[in-house]
């Protein structure tokens, strides 16, 4: 909503309402602090030296901030026996998340389009079954999936993880796109059919150009889910092919030597940074798209 539209709202006036508003903003302010505090502690701790951490309080600002801990977390912290930092695992995650998001979003868009605009016998049943997939807990699919990956020869590889995430994500991506495309007039597809366009031409030239809100929502959702996933990562990959979440866990839980809180904090922030960036860049569309989906669902 634009600023003018918000300012244009007529509000009740009077002392009582003023007090209520002040109270409201005070409470909201408390919530903001509550949410910001952990982030503040993490950032400030990551900029301190180990001595300072041991000596000072959790909430104090760093005396001479430096990025030593960040550098260590990125390239020389020890994950298990290797001391190359998070960097290689970060690339594992990128190599996993990019294809998994692209493939699951593309397939979800195709599914949503086919389910709404090329209605066939049993379309509703298929959709109901796919929707059911969204409610299956991770734990339930672990063993069957491990066996399937083994049979496919993908066990312990990033490719296997991409496959798992794509399959698991289909339920969500299909749901988002179906809810979006169901709101698109069938007439547009009929017009395109009369214009001579086939299934894929209508998809790429007519439907997809209308779908950016759905695409953005789906990409953000899938990106966060897949990037932040720990369970599939730890279950289906080994050592070198671990995603960053698993590596982070290994750094933090290393039992040898002193606990380097500053490095742990820096590593945690590094691992979370990509999702944060995605939210900041596309968050506006996310809220808008979710609202649209909710209305049309």
């Amino acid at each position: 909503m634009s600023r003018a539209a918000i300012d244009g709202i007529v509000r009740p006036k009077g002392a009582r309402n003023k007090v209520l508003r002040v109270l409201l903003f005070f409470i909201l302010g408390l919530f903001v602090l509550y949410y910001l505090l952990p982030l503040f502690v993490m950032v400030s701790t990551s900029l301190k030296s180990l001595d300072e951490i041991r000596g000072g309080s959790l909430l104090s600002l760093p005396r001479n901030p430096n990025f030593d801990a960040w550098g260590k977390a990125w390239q020389s912290a020890c994950v298990g026996v290797r001391c190359n930092g998070l960097r290689p695992y970060m690339w594992n995650s990128v190599a996993m998340v990019v294809p998994a998001v692209l493939i699951s979003t593309t397939l979800g868009a195709l599914n949503g389009y086919a389910l709404t605009k090329w209605r066939f016998r049993g379309a509703d049943t298929i959709f109901a079954l796919m929707l059911f997939g969204a409610f299956i807990p991770f734990q339930v699919v672990l063993l069957p999936m491990a066996r399937t990956l083994g049979l496919m020869g993908l066990a312990g590889s990033v490719t296997g993880l991409i496959f798992v995430h794509t399959v698991y994500g289909l339920a969500f991506t299909t749901l988002y796109f179906r809810n979006f495309f169901i709101g698109v007039s069938d007439g547009i597809v009929q017009a395109a059919k009369i214009d001579g366009a086939g299934f894929f031409r209508i998809f790429f030239h007519v439907m997809l150009p209308m779908a950016p809100p759905a695409i953005v929502v789906t990409v953000i959702w899938q990106f966060t889910q897949i990037w932040n996933d720990f369970l599939f990562g730890i279950a289906f990959t080994v050592g070198d092919s671990n995603p960053v979440t698993v590596a982070l866990n290994n750094i933090v839980n290393t039992s040898t030597g002193v606990k380097e809180y500053n490095v742990d904090m820096a590593a945690a922030i590094l691992a979370a940074l990509p999702t944060l960036l995605v939210y900041i860049i596309a968050g506006k569309y996310f809220v808008r798209g979710l609202a649209a989906g909710a209305l049309k669902g």
Binding site: S185, G187, I188, Q190, A191, A192, K193, I194, D195, G196, A197, R201, H205, V206, P209, M210
Partner: protein, 368 residues
Amino acid sequence: MSNVRLEKVWKRFGATEVIKGVDIEFNEGEFVVLVGPSGCGKSTLLNLVAGLETLSSGNIFIGDRLVNDIPPKDRNIAMVFQSYALYPTKTVHKNITFGMETRRVPVAEQERALKQVTELLHIDSFLERKPGQLSGGQRQRVAMGRALVRHPDVFLFDEPLSNLDAKLRIEMRTEIKKLHQQLGKTIIYVTHDQIEAMTLASRIAVMDNGHIRQFASPETIYEEPEDLFVAEFIGAPSMNIVRGRIRKKGQYVVEVIDEEGSILFPLPDRLLKPAAAREDQEVFLGMRPETITRKGAQRPSVNMFSFQRAIDVVEPTGPDTMLVFTLGNIEAIARVHPEDREQAGAKYAFEVDMGKAKLFDVKTGKRL
């Protein structure tokens, strides 16, 4: 050859029968209007001709070609939708040329066709805008343009004007009629609006519940409706249909009785034969509102008959004033000149042209 022929066409969606055995033939170059109440299957019939729905049974021919299994794009038809169905992300230009691009028409030819139709429809000044930036009337024209560039054998229009305001609707109506005269192509046009139907059609097909009730010229539909349904559906306000009994009082009359007394409507010569066959039986007497006026307001003729009734309600419409009065079991409407109006409650001397009256069978609803 681009006549369209439907043979015993049935369409079912699951268990619901929507089109129930339609047999109809539209001639080449004809402007056919399909009218009927909401949900009677007009759009479905159009979609069947377009190939957007598959037939349950029967045959559809366009020209000499059986098109049952031919996809929409190869039927050489063009369609204009009620909601226009423009591609929202494409410019007007691309909306119109998308079909030609799909069919790989050379670019030079595309541009030529585009120029031709956009000039014809006066939409050449906003080719680079998106549909969202156009008014309803402009969108409507773009939708027409998209259909025109195909040079189809048959145009299908599904309520193309229903989203426009009254004034624009009349303008576009005239333009569509002009367009038809210029192009001479077969047009099948669906509408709710019977004025549109009467003004545009060379023939009107009245549909009801999956059947074609009557298919004839507008004049025939208006003056010689096959049955009660057509008679009531066409004409606004619709025909007054009163229950009465045929009597022989010197000549044949229809006796209508209500609280204000009985009226004996004399039947014209034209109706003597059916009347004689139904002496003392019930019938429906149909009289269009414009045939009932103030006494002395119409050209005198032997078929004029006058009667008195109290006015219940007065409804001015501008050019005419509607007087509502009770007749038999219905609220009847008379259409009089505005200067002939009287206050509600007043006794009024009406005059009806019985030469235009119609009789309908009570059981079958057929016109006698």
